[in-house]
């Protein structure tokens, strides 16, 4: 599958919305950065150069979807630490949409390992936006 040219601005943040039940106590599952089967190896992100973390949160929840906060990795972490590429992929209803390509990874284990690495970067950075009313369900 050919993708658009990889993003190159290493400082650009790439946002993921944390579904509330993917936090247990203080631990966030690495699934936050793992494409589901339906994603076919392309992990959706919101591009930080096009939308801020709060706006990304507001856009997401305005669709009636849940989020306990916005977490981010940078293009540099994706490319130089995880050895992956991130791409622009604007959608009509979501012009700031992009993805991290994991479709070339040969095994599920390889995807899981990358997801753990990206989750660790994101958790270390801390939530880029958390709603003031966010409850932390156990």
């Amino acid at each position: 599958v050919s993708h658009s040219d990889p993003l190159t601005n290493g400082d650009e943040e790439l946002f993921r919305q944390l579904v509330p039940t993917w936090r247990h106590e203080d631990k966030i599952t690495s699934q936050l950065f793992l494409p589901t089967r339906k994603d076919e190896g392309l992990l959706s992100i919101d591009r930080g150069s096009k939308v801020g973390p709060k706006q990304a949160f507001d856009d997401h929840t305005a669709l009636g979807l849940q989020s306990a906060g916005v977490f981010a990795v940078t293009v540099d972490e994706v490319a130089n630490q995880a050895g992956l590429t991130a791409h622009d992929d604007p959608l009509p209803e979501k012009p700031h949409h992009g993805f991290i390509a994991m479709d070339e990874l040969p095994t599920r284990g390889a995807r899981e390992k990358k997801a753990q690495l990206l989750r660790d970067f994101a958790v270390q950075r801390g939530a880029r936006y958390e709603p003031p009313s966010a409850l932390r369900p156990n």
Partner: protein
Amino acid sequence: VGEGVAVAASFIEARFVGERFAGGKLPLSVVGELEALNKLLFELARERYLSDHPDRKRLPRGFRATTALQISAVANGSAIVTLERPTVDSGASDVTADHFEKASEVLLRAISAAGSELDLPSEFPTWARARCNMIGRSLAPDEHLLLTSTRSRFQARYDRKVRKALVGEANEFEDDFSVVGSVHAFDADALSFGVTSADGPVNGNYVPQLDEDLRTALAAGKPGGRYLDGNAPFHISGTARFKRSSMVTFRAESIERVDFEQGVVSFGEIVKRVVQITALDAGWLHGEGEPVTSEIAERFLTVVAQLAYRGRPSPSVFPTAEGGLRAEWSGDGTEYLWELEASGACYYLQGQAGTSKFVEGSLGSELSAADVAEQLDMRLTGLWDDSVA
């Protein structure tokens, strides 16, 4: 290379002799017999280890991994199967070596003695004789299995006559027995109870001296015995009477509640968490996300209870997009996860932090929850093979 399972040493040769095995052919039926042989060696080594370390309740890390024999070669002629044992490199002590070697030595001497109609070695327990029922079942009268210790070159011939001699008098015997499960039935007048274990229901009686608190805990068991309904896991141990390999009666002498000894949450909190997760509606994950069925949730908790008993730390628990449940935890620079998929199959992975090393695998949905827990305990070791990139 860090600490880890590094090399495999040739441990035992099993030579199948008979027409069926000519040209190195190996019927699939013998694989189950080699597995039974491995299980018996493990149980003998385990008993020996715990007897030598009365202060320990559990096996040390790596014990299971280094007793999981592997077929390394099948040679021509009559089929000769070389079984090798994973060992550890110089970075870690080989906790298994002495006990496993001794276990195989005792087994081979017992087989040899049975074949010569001599007394069996005193170290060979009665329960192990009954287990021999599972080895050599497929051997025809004119076939035999020649077992050779790679280290001592001691040989023992196992055939139908030997099997009969070993198992024969062990038809009925009494032995220690324990089970992990939740109480689904209790009768204080009859001093009886029923436990739902990961392998199925177990019924028994208990001694009247059992502590009042524990009797109260047993009596609190809810019908059906499901963990999802709030039943707690117990480790119940005592004495059982067996006829061949089947348990006939079980008398419980001690009962203790099972919980995590490490980690931040209790088993009860894990149950609450899973109950919350089963309440999720379809679409919980950004409009996608399958709900988790109560069958999957109960199987998950049954595995969790078994792992808690085996000394594993409490995990964090999450639903998966496809209707499964996932346990994650970390320790000593390793990230662990196992996922019970909606099909009942299990995926597992251990990944070394800061490197690209990982080990993954899957376990079929046909396995019992007890077998899944045993396999996870054996495979999620935090030990690393040289071959892992």
